[in-house]
Subunit: 423 residues, 2 copies
Amino acid sequence: MGLVVQKYGGSSVADAEGIKRVAKRIVDTKKDGHQVVVVVSAMGDTTDELIDLAEQVSPIPAGREFDMLLTAGERISMALLAMAIKNLGHEAQSFTGSQAGVITDSVHNKARIIDVTPGRIRTALDEGNIAIVAGFQGVSQDKKDITTLGRGGSDTTAVALAAALDAEVCEIYTDVDGVFTADPRVVKKAKKIDWISFEDMLELAASGSKVLLHRCVEYARRYNIPIHVRSSFSGLQGTWVSNEPQGAQKVEQAIISGVAHDTSEAKITVVGVPDKPGEAAAIFRAVADAEINIDMIVQNVSAASTGLTDISFTLPKAEGRKAIDELEKAKSAIGFDSLRYDDQIGKISLVGAGMKTNPGVTADFFKALSDAGVNIELISTSEIRISVVTRADDVNEAVRAVHTAFGLDSDSDEAVVYGGTGR
Amino acid sequence: MGLVVQKYGGSSVADAEGIKRVAKRIVDTKKDGHQVVVVVSAMGDTTDELIDLAEQVSPIPAGREFDMLLTAGERISMALLAMAIKNLGHEAQSFTGSQAGVITDSVHNKARIIDVTPGRIRTALDEGNIAIVAGFQGVSQDKKDITTLGRGGSDTTAVALAAALDAEVCEIYTDVDGVFTADPRVVKKAKKIDWISFEDMLELAASGSKVLLHRCVEYARRYNIPIHVRSSFSGLQGTWVSNEPQGAQKVEQAIISGVAHDTSEAKITVVGVPDKPGEAAAIFRAVADAEINIDMIVQNVSAASTGLTDISFTLPKAEGRKAIDELEKAKSAIGFDSLRYDDQIGKISLVGAGMKTNPGVTADFFKALSDAGVNIELISTSEIRISVVTRADDVNEAVRAVHTAFGLDSDSDEAVVYGGTGR
């Protein structure tokens, strides 16, 4: 019996009852003979309440002090969780990110973990304790300031600790039963996936699946830490994410893992770009300098008559205004005609390693969309993913059509509650 | 212009408005040319809310995890205060007790400061920052665990930091205008004291005055740090506590500093104690072993006929049950007849260095009580204090009578709001 890292999101510890329920689950794991390290997020709405307070004292709260403030949230939940476990007759100690050895860079509000030195956690485990660690936070290597890891940070904390402690699994407890073949709010017949490879999970996360964030899966793949995504309410087996299926997960690998969609992006088209070397570089340099993350990029062949081409790309809606501003500033230097901005788009992605060896997948995908009357505006592919941009209004219908066409529908059509994992 | 340490209690930072008001006061001090270190308590009711949560998950929250939980309170207030200061255009950084170098022993929930190593605070000040430090908390020397200092701990943090940083003054901001000659809720004509010696302040604190706790004053006296107790609302000069009055505080020292009272104690009388060596020691050993703090002790001469005597002592009401239990257990070993427990008592104390050279004070004190028809049950004295125990019902009347008899009444009789300083 090895070491297990468990992560519980804010909705699992939203109140005293939730904390007691989670404590019992942790103690059960300990009773099974495991050493247990628990990573916990702030209780329910705590983070929102702290942000609200911050905005009341300062219109632009950010940086070092904002991190100091937000980390109070996990401090509360982790101490309460340790108390609840002790109340069940087991030893527990809570540790801040800093105490747990989560070392980060100095980028406040979205720091990256650069090292984990869990000496105190090891000692606590060796002394028979369950170790409770604050998710989402660390301490900066240079200044020893408190940092936070940004959205999904607690999942990353859990995986990083699992890697540093050589855990046998990192269990991510959430309010859904696992990773599904599509968003169950859109596709009633979506099925829970029993096992999925790191690669497919990375593509799903990059394509709009919210259950696990890309960064966390990437970390798990790098250190080969199996992730088990499961519900803190049901106790059922969830979805295993790993290199190779083990034991009960040993199912024949599906050609297609799932269908993801994303309606949080907008599309910018740069119209009338001179078709000569360096033009695309100039456009994306202007956008990158503003620290805007772009997703898909498509350039058509230029019209022979004009020597001009159009370049389209997608990016988070929240960054649309800034990107337009930056491009307008660089307009004369780059030399394009105009910009078109469109935030009524959606993206549908089909993900599966089986694509590599099944050349018919792309054709079947387009046929399914065509049969559903969905018009395609942009296409982009990777080795194991194909994504299209459509009108936002068409997204749900498109996802359902593709899900059915690839035989992913379950026989049952019972509704599944689906939500995010918090931070 | 030197370094000033300011401490703000929970009532001063109870909400966003309070935090902004305090931020402005801090910035004004900085503008006057001072380096400023601020010690802050948790906002208003935060601590009570955290305790309430703890009790929901565990009936006996205490120790290491309880300290971890409670320290979230100052983390929130200090980060918000730093943000509010930055919003006014000044640089500020917040520090936990641990970051500020507040090193304590390992007694959770009531740790004692054993060293202060404020290297990071010095650096922050040298870089032009206002340093905000979490009150009430530190880190244990041996295990590096988070500790709390117990009631009044933020005041002690402030004085300890002032000593370690060689501050010119430690300002304790609270919701009253200073230290008064008596509790203004009882004596409407109580006067604010402009200056009081450490010694007299120590006696007042030990006798029931709540404005400053004994431990904090003791620390200030040991390191000779002047304390200025003042209102965070009015901005008026408050009460200076120091070795010698300075400048505007140079008033002729009063014979009597003030009248304190305390109705939080109970009296235990051990009846029929054999009058032989070692009996008192056995009684107080039994009580001390249970870690009960006793206050006054009185033993009368024994009746010649029986060779038996009575020993009375006072102690906090909250510890009365435990003391009775311990004494009953030791009854046969000690050999007394019975125990009497009385929690309807009050204590009135007259404090002033002038007593040493004014032998009439004691007589005047008893006459004032007698004229007011107050019966005295126990008497205890120090060089600069005289205390009596009376019926609890007589306390207010006794305090007023003594206050008037020693000429402490102000001419004004406007009501003054009086309260505690929080923790």
